[in-house]
Subunit: 359 residues, 2 copies
C-alpha cells in the first residue's frame, strides 16, 4: 500500500486528478486541475463563495484501531462526502446552486494513498450529484490530515440576482427546517466518542447505525435551498443551514433580523421522540440532540404562513418535506435571540446547546 511520501507530489497528483476530473468535464470548466489556477465560466455575472475546513481528530476520526482512530470512525469516502455536504449546504443556504469546488489537502507523508483516493472519490461523487465539479486544488504536508474546500455557486435565475440572507426574518413568520429529523449527528457523535458499537446496543441497534452513518456522511436535501428560493421568491424571507445546532443557528437568524425566534412546535417533540430510545440507552436527552446537533446541514427558513403550503409542495415534489419548528416574534427586552420552549424562555441563554469551535 503506497504512502504519499513514497509517491511524491507528482505521483499523488497522477492518481488523484483522474478521480477528481472524472466528474470535471462540464461545460463550465474552462481550465480544470493542473495549472496555476482553474478557470470557471460564470454566466450569471456573480458567484457565491464559501469555505470550510475539516481536521483529523477535531472534525473527524479515521476508522481503525490505531491510536487516535476508532473502529466507528470514518472512511475516506465518508470524509469526502461530508466535506462536500458542509460546503454545498452553505451555497444552498444562499438560494444558490453549486457549480465548482477546490480542495486544499494537507497530510502526513505516511498517509496511505488509498485513504486520499477515498476522500477524493467521496468529494467528487457527492459534488457531482449536486451538479458541481472539483476544478482544482493544492497538496501539502502536515502532521495530521487537514482538508479545506472552497465551493462556488450561482444564484437561481429569476430572482434578479437576489441571495437569500439571514437578515430578512419578519415578525409573524413561520420557522421551518427542510428535514423530518434533526439530532442524528449529535447522536452519532455521542456513539463515536463513547465507543458504543451499535451491534452491542440491542433494540436500538438500527437507530444507532443510522445516527453514526448520518454523523459520518450526512445525507441532506441540498436542493431544498435553491428549489425554495426559485419557488417562493421574495416570500423566502431568510435562510441558513443548521451547522452548529438549531438553537444556535436560529439565534444567528434572529440576531441578523432583529427578532426573536421561538422554537416550540410539535415537530420538535416528534423529532425528539424518534430519538428517545437511543438517547435513553445512552443516558442522554433527545431534546438536547434536536436543539443542539451541529453538522445537520438542513435548511432553516423563515417565511410567511401564507407561503407555507407552496414551500411544502415544492419539497414534496422531490419526495422531501418541511417541518415547522417555531415562529418569529418581536425582539423582547433581552434583544434579538432564539428561545426554545422549556430551555431558555426565562432568560437562561441556552448556550450550552450547540457547537462553538473554541469553547
Amino acid at each position: 500500500m503506497s504512502t504519499l511520501g513514497e509517491l511524491g507530489e507528482a505521483g499523488i497528483l497522477a492518481r488523484i486528478l483522474p478521480i477528481l476530473s472524472g466528474a470535471a468535464n462540464t461545460e463550465r470548466t474552462l481550465i480544470g486541475p493542473g495549472d496555476d489556477a482553474a478557470l470557471l465560466a460564470v454566466p450569471s455575472g456573480s458567484v457565491v463563495i464559501t469555505t470550510d475546513t475539516m481536521i483529523e481528530g477535531k472534525d473527524f476520526l479515521l476508522r481503525g484501531d490505531a491510536p487516535g482512530r476508532s473502529p466507528l470512525g470514518s472512511t475516506g469516502e465518508e470524509i469526502g462526502h461530508k466535506l462536500a455536504v458542509q460546503n454545498l449546504a452553505d451555497i444552498a443556504a444562499m438560494g444558490a446552486e453549486p457549480t465548482a469546488l477546490v480542495l486544499s489537502l494537507s497530510a502526513p507523508a505516511t498517509t496511505p494513498l488509498a485513504l486520499i483516493e477515498g476522500i477524493a472519490r467521496g468529494l467528487a461523487a457527492r459534488s457531482a450529484r449536486a451538479g458541481a465539479v472539483v476544478i482544482g486544488g493544492d497538496l501539502g504536508g502536515a502532521d495530521m490530515i487537514s482538508l479545506t474546500v472552497t465551493a462556488l455557486g450561482e444564484l437561481v435565475p429569476g430572482l434578479g440576482g437576489r441571495a437569500i440572507r439571514r437578515d430578512g426574518a419578519r415578525v409573524g413568520d413561520v420557522v421551518a427546517v427542510g428535514t423530518p429529523q434533526l439530532g442524528r449527528s449529535a447522536a452519532g457523535l455521542a456513539l463515536l466518542l463513547g465507543g458504543h458499537d451499535p451491534a452491542e446496543l440491542g433494540d436500538v441497534q438500527r437507530g444507532a447505525e443510522g445516527a453514526l452513518e448520518f454523523h459520518r456522511a450526512p445525507e441532506v436535501d441540498l436542493e431544498a435551498g435553491h428549489r425554495l428560493a426559485a419557488a417562493l421568491g421574495h416570500d423566502l424571507h431568510a435562510m441558513i443551514d443548521v451547522s452548529d445546532g438549531l438553537l444556535r443557528d436560529a439565534g444567528r437568524l434572529a440576531d441578523a433580523s432583529g427578532v426573536r425566534i421561538h422554537l416550540d412546535a410539535d415537530g420538535l417533540a416528534t423529532m425528539a421522540e424518534a430519538l428517545r430510545p437511543l438517547a435513553d440507552s445512552l443516558g442522554q436527552d433527545p431534546s438536547a440532540w434536536v436543539l443542539g446537533s451541529g453538522e445537520e446541514h438542513a435548511m432553516l427558513i423563515c417565511l410567511p404562513p401564507s407561503a407555507l403550503q407552496a414551500a411544502r409542495d415544492v419539497l414534496r415534489d422531490a419526495g422531501r418535506d418541511l417541518t415547522v419548528v417555531g415562529r418569529v416574534l418581536p425582539a423582547g427586552e433581552e434583544g434579538p435571540r432564539a428561545t426554545a420552549a422549556g430551555v431558555n424562555e426565562q432568560g437562561a441563554d441556552g448556550s450550552a446547546l450547540g457547537w462553538d469551535h473554541f469553547e
Copy 2:
C-alpha cells in the same frame, strides 16, 4: 491578552471582521463576510480560482522562544502577507487580476487573539494592494494554526477570455523571470532553520536580514502577470509562478509544453554571485539557492525573442525588470524536462533541487 478560547467564535469574529472588511467595501462585494456564503460580482463572465494552505511548523514558524517557535520566526502580519502572496501569485500566473479571497482559519483555543488579528491585517493589507478584498471565511479549532486561502480573479480584458497556461512554450522561446533575484527565500530558510541571527553574521548581516525578511514575507511583483498578459497578448506563450524552485517549475512548464527548457543564462550566475557572501558564510552553494528556492513567486515566462523588449518595457514602466534565465529547446531523448547548466545536463534528474511537500 485574550485567547480564542476566552472569546469564543462570536467574540473572535467581532474582532476579526472589521479588520477584513475594512478593505472589503468595493463595488464587487455584493455580500461580504457574515452570512452562509459571500457573493462577488464577476462582470467578465469567468472566474480564475486557486487555493493554498499554510500550516504552523510546516510552512512557517511563529516568532518566539517557546518550543516550536524561533526568535527568527514570523509575526502574524508576515504570515498573513505570505498567505496572500502565494495565492495571488497563482492568479497572476494565469494573466489575471485578483478580485477576492476567502480565509479558512483553524487554531488552538490557546492562541492569542493578537496573533490572529495580525494574520488578518497582513492578509487584508497585501490583498488590498493587489486590488483584492477578503470577502469571507471560516473559523475552526485545531492543534496548530492552519490557514487556507482561496483566491479569485478575472482575466485581463482584451485577450478574449484567454488565460496564460503552462503548455504554450515553443522551441526558440526565451525563458525569463520577473525579478532580478531568485534564491532569497531558500537563503532565509537556511538562516531560520540553522538559527543564524543576522546580527551575529558580521559583513553579511544586511544580506541575511533581507533574505530572512523575504522568506517570511516575500515582496513580489504580482502585477507582472496581468501586465505582461495585457501587453504581449498571444506572444506570452506560457507562464507559471516560481513556488517550488526555478528548476522544478521550469520542468512543469517543459512537461506541459512538450519541450526542454535549458537554464544557462548569465542572469543566473549574476543572481548566484549576489548571494555568494551569505552562502559562503553558511557553507552553502548559492547556485542551488537560485535554482531550488521555493516560495519566490516571481513570474516565469516563455516568449519569442522578438517580444522580449516589449516585455521589458512593460515592467520597467513600473520600476521592475525581467531577467533572462534560459531558452526553450526541442525535447530530447529523455523527453520534456528542464535542465540547468552544470547540474543535470548529462542526465542527472536534478530533483534534489526544489521543493516536494512529501519528500
